[in-house]
């Protein structure tokens, strides 16, 4: 049983990086209940693996790896039939108002719709890119080469430009 100090540190770190949890879960889950369920799965895996976390690495990098790995396997549905449906109001993360940004920035829904269309792996890549990570960090999280990251981001951006052009 981990000591209260470790538990407190974990809660503080997850709180500090709660946006990662939200962004990944909302990018892979289709409904609010699915998102609540996915957040719970990610937190359980994070906590289960916390004793292996090496402080030499940034917590955000480690958290992204776990969150994306859980989200992609959740999305792939291997454990779908074993899930309990978590009511959306029991979500670990609560958004104060409606999902922010949708009214103020009209391009955001279009961007979210585009991300939804991407495959599981490209979706992970673009979330990391949009969050401002360097190619080296993205390569480290995904386990591919830096040049591969650069080429793939270039291709996704081309697709996105075409998509935006078709909608305007």
């Amino acid at each position: 049983m981990p000591d209260p100090a470790t538990q407190g540190r974990f809660v503080a770190l997850v709180n500090e990086h709660r946006k990662i949890l939200y962004k990944v879960a909302s990018s892979y889950a289709r409904t609010p209940a699915d998102r609540a369920d996915l957040e719970q799965e990610i937190v359980a895996q994070l906590w289960g693996a916390f004793f292996r976390y090496d402080e030499a690495y940034r917590f955000s990098t480690w958290m992204y790896r776990i969150a994306l790995n859980v989200a992609i396997s959740f999305y792939r549905g291997e454990t779908r039939w074993l899930r309990t449906v978590v009511p959306a109001e029991d979500s670990i993360l609560q958004v104060a108002a409606d999902e922010p940004g949708t009214e103020e920035d009209e391009r955001l829904p279009q961007l979210r719709a585009f991300i939804d269309q991407l495959g599981e792996l490209d979706r992970a890549l673009i979330i990391l890119y949009l969050d401002g990570h360097r190619h080296g960090t993205i390569a480290e999280i995904l386990g591919i080469s830096e040049s591969n990251v650069g080429t793939r981001i270039g291709r996704i951006k081309q697709r996105l430009r075409r998509d935006f052009a078709n909608h305007t």
Binding site: Q7, V11, K23, Q45, W62, R76, L82, A96, N148
Partner: protein, 220 residues
Amino acid sequence: MKQSWQAYDRKLDASLELNAHLLRITMLGRAQTAVGRLSWLLAVELLGALAALVWLVSFTVRHAGEARFAVPGAMLGLCALALAITAGRQFAVLRELDYGQPVLAIQSRLEALRLERLRGTLVALVLGPLLWVPALIVLVKGVLGVDAYVLFSQAWILANVLFGGAVLAGAVWASRRYADRMERSPRLQRLMRDLAGHNVNHAIGFVEELRRFGREPGSA
């Protein structure tokens, strides 16, 4: 694109709150996860297969001189052995899985595991209708001490084997034709897609996608 995302990020800063109480409940394991339940399921599968294996080996040894009991006993024993090995291996893979490793490596392992489970289900669904007659012979003899060959006529046993084959052929045909229309019943749809081989093909497709993703674009 990045500007929209950054604006979204800033607004999340202001509106997103962590429910520390629910987080702690999850940490305490009161909310079991699907991955945890899959591990339990595999552990139960492993224990069941091992128990069946021990009983079948003992049955086969006891009837070593009687081919009509020893052959179905050995056949079922081999199935139990295969199930025990598969479940044990999958249980070990799942327990050792470190989600903190790079995404491509973990997803490749997970998809290989998924493919193995799907193929296992497919084999079980195919063998099920064919193995129930040997299972009946072994169970009736092993549990009740009754000779099924005497109790039922050989023609009856042969008819059941043929009926099992017909059920199997019908199930494969129906799965290929109707699996995609079973959206109201996800579990049945999953079984039908397994039997039709759709889920296996899908998993093979994702394994290939993972390979492509790991390769430099443009490289052979």
